[in-house]
Amino acid sequence: MAVFDAEKVQGNILRGYPLDRVRHMILEVSDRRRAREFLAAAADGTGEEVPRITRSANWSERPEFCFNIGITFEGLRTLGLPSDQLKTFPTEYTEGMTRRALKLGDFGESAPEHWPAPFDRPDRIHIVASAYANADHHLDDIEKKVAKVFTVLGTRDGRNLPDGKVFFGYRDGISQPRLRHVFDPEHAGDHQIKDPLGTVLLGYQTQLEGIKFTIPTPEDVFRDSAFNAFRVLQQDTEAFETYLTDAAHFLESHRDVARLLPEGAEQNIGGGMSRHDALREVVAAQMCGRWRNGTPYEASPNSDVQDGISLTNYDYSLSSRCPAGSHMRRANPRGGPIVQRVANYTRRMVRRGMSYGPDPETGEHGLLGNFIGANYGAQFEAVMCDWINFGLQDPGITGTNDPLLGANVPETSRFDLTLKGGGHIRLSGFPRFVKTRGGAYTLLPSLPAIRYLSQLTA
């Protein structure tokens, strides 16, 4: 077993940064030689005009900005990695996000054909470089430096919204895998089982007993790298809020509504609200698995008051009030009952995201997400194609998609609200609330890998 050295790992993998702004720069390598020089200087901080790659090691003082890079398969090829080594990378990465579209639910309006520039030309996307800071001038400064060497095909700016929320109004980023060997005070109170390092980094034991994912050649170089699915996800908050209103109208006159939310419980939701508004929030909470303030629905089905309720420590069962079809349960079924019993806890991945927009012209807004793991097929894609969409993990939801993130169309969408004492009320007719507007599969290379790539000669 390799000894873990945080100096070898890029800093955005194992922990999030306490910085509120991000700029993702989508880059083309137009001059291979200069690109390599840039990588060499970035790896070791040896150039004035090149930002240094941020590592995972614990910082003695908080940095003003951070800088990390992800490289696409086309990027590796362009940097000159020989073809016999390129062949040792996994198929999903080799094909790239656009050719995996159907597995990710990227069809219809979300299909790569409809992605705006620069994501309409995936062959030109070689590197996604990300700068993090609290102040815009740091981001501008880094972009200027990067632009001297690379062709900047486009940028996407993100920011943390107040109270850790996303545009849909939910508090986000509460649950993350906690990794052995990593000190993470932010998630110390989370009692879910810890994940081995092989969940995110290449070269370590994974949660699947005995299974190690293949490290591309040369192994000692690419060990400690990770794979990232960078996603630009547009959130249709207007359609979402409209649907909540429609659903609340439908529920108000439903004969079983008292078993959905007891009369009077509206006093304990959002600090007290009308019955109608409370029913909207119940629908939002069951769809997500959390109330918008983050309180787990499983732990508290009739109130979003957080008093003494752990945000992270609960589990699901066959009689859970948190619907099997909710977003949280689909993305992480925890120790709850699932069809693929061997897969409990095996498909976790690190999720980091910041909100983007609204665009002043189009109003488009959403999330810039990084979904990081050691193996696309076993984690990101497995969750997207079998759990988020399709719902194979529970026979009660098989054939339906995630109500928030899923590839829904009004004609066939459905979502079952759970009721006290069992049974359900079925919602249908909701559209797709999250549309894919771009993305790329990138390798987050280890520091040795960045140095290795910088020294290629072909």
Binding site: P90, T91, L102, K103, G105, F107, L208, E209, G210, I211, K212, F213, T214, I338, V339, Q340, R341, V342, A343, T346, N375, G377, A378, E381, A382, C385, D386, N389, F390, L392, D394, P395, G396, T398, G399, T400, A407
Partner: protein, 238 residues
Amino acid sequence: MSDDSGWLNSYINSLPERGWFQFLSKYVVVPFWVWREGRPKLPGGPRPSPQPSDNTQRMMNLLMPLKDTSPIGRAKAVMALAQNVDEIFAGLDNVGTVHSARFLLVEDYICMISVYDGDFSNYIRDFISTIGSVFDALMHEVEGGDKLYPSEENVEAFIDWVREHDLFQAPDYPFDLFGLQDEQAGRKPNDPPHDLQTLPRSLILQLHANRNISLGGGYRGYPGYSAAQIRRNLGVGW
């Protein structure tokens, strides 16, 4: 116009059934067209689809070439499976997405024919993690299997190998072959449209590239339901 233009027309109509013409087609006509516009091999297994009923009861038709095709080699393959019944059932019961699976020895292949729900690579990966030892035992008897040993540490290569040896599933509607061939060659499907009359040639050339195929994605008595849904509704637990 006469209704049948006599013996010549009848003879010409019967050409495809005549030995000499079949010989000519096999050794001259087909090789010429393969040389001229051969089709790339199409990948095995069901194609990715976002639609629920395409993701239940998917078909696997895995043809694994035997290393030793003698009765002794075949017996080894039989033993590799026969000694692992507990393992197989433990996998079946806990992976939870398999409707049926069976193994056949046909000519020089050991075949695994199964019906499963959900994504192909998840199915294989979950099985490797539970019964990798069975695959390992089997792969020792299969050509090219040694480099995949142990499967637990070669998950990606193992999955790629299985996909490579899973039969191409011809489209359920013949016309869709054009589009699949276009996509495989990196072109936009049916743009420009294909001459309808070239469909037989497209099929013949594809069968040259993919000698063994599955004729469509199969027929189902109760399509659209997962193994767990059926078990649940029969009251036998999932």
